[in-house]
Symmetry: C2
Subunit: 106 residues, 2 copies
DNA sequence: GGCTTTGTTCGAAGAATATCGAATGACCAA
DNA sequence: TTGGTCATTCGATATTCTTCGAACAAAGCC
């Protein structure tokens, strides 16, 4: 882990990278789960992959500008990036409206 | 070329594949150009790649369900797939509204 | 200080993707 | 039928992505 996670400036977030990040089933599921409500702990997604793989996907989502990571004690809290809507209005809504509901399940 | 191009059934078109297809700059440019108006001839995109590479991207777009290909004499006409809006309402609009205008240039 | 929990980082292996040039095929025109 | 145009396919290469296990690091607890 690390003290502070590096997040890109919102102006540096690129549409192509956002779309590519969303094109992976697991990553889309993570984003959909976060969109259902609040932030979540890193480990609360029961992703069917090894921790190192999940960590990789989390990094992709963070670097693409989709989510934020925050340290809380020994745990990592993941949340949708709030300023994404202002950077790409309507994008996340349009995508998530179309993703099957069960993808948001815990 | 081929007599008839294979297109997926609209019901088989997957969101993830659409997003992945759109995540490539050249492919997004092609789709944006098509969205500006009418269909276009294959060669009228002045893509900065070799013909074989363009052909590859066209195939990706077609297989992802984003465009249709139609034979016309010795040429190939490319168009946005009309039933995509009904399959994923609002998706293409949301994405294209956010893509820089010059990407639609010929 | 040790131990546990929680993620990250580091290779490495395998799959997928992007790109090109060369060869090919389909159609049209002369 | 010979050639030209337009696009696809094939084979090759280089890059990127996905995935894992092993090792590591930070924070808190005993």
């Amino acid at each position: 882990m690390q003290e502070h996670y590096p997040h890109p400036e919102i102006a540096d977030v690129q549409l192509g990278e956002v779309l590519q990040a969303l094109s992976d089933p697991l990553r889309l599921r993570i984003v959909a789960a976060l969109a259902q409500g609040d932030e979540r702990g890193w480990g609360e997604f029961d992703a069917p992959v090894a921790p190192s793989t999940l960590s990789h996907h989390m990094k992709v989502l963070r670097q693409a500008g989709l989510v934020t990571h925050r340290r809380e004690g020994t745990r990592c809290i993941v949340a949708l990036r709030p300023d994404l809507e202002e950077r790409f209005p309507g994008l996340l809504g349009a995508v998530l409206r179309l993703t099957p509901a069960e993808q948001g399940a815990k």
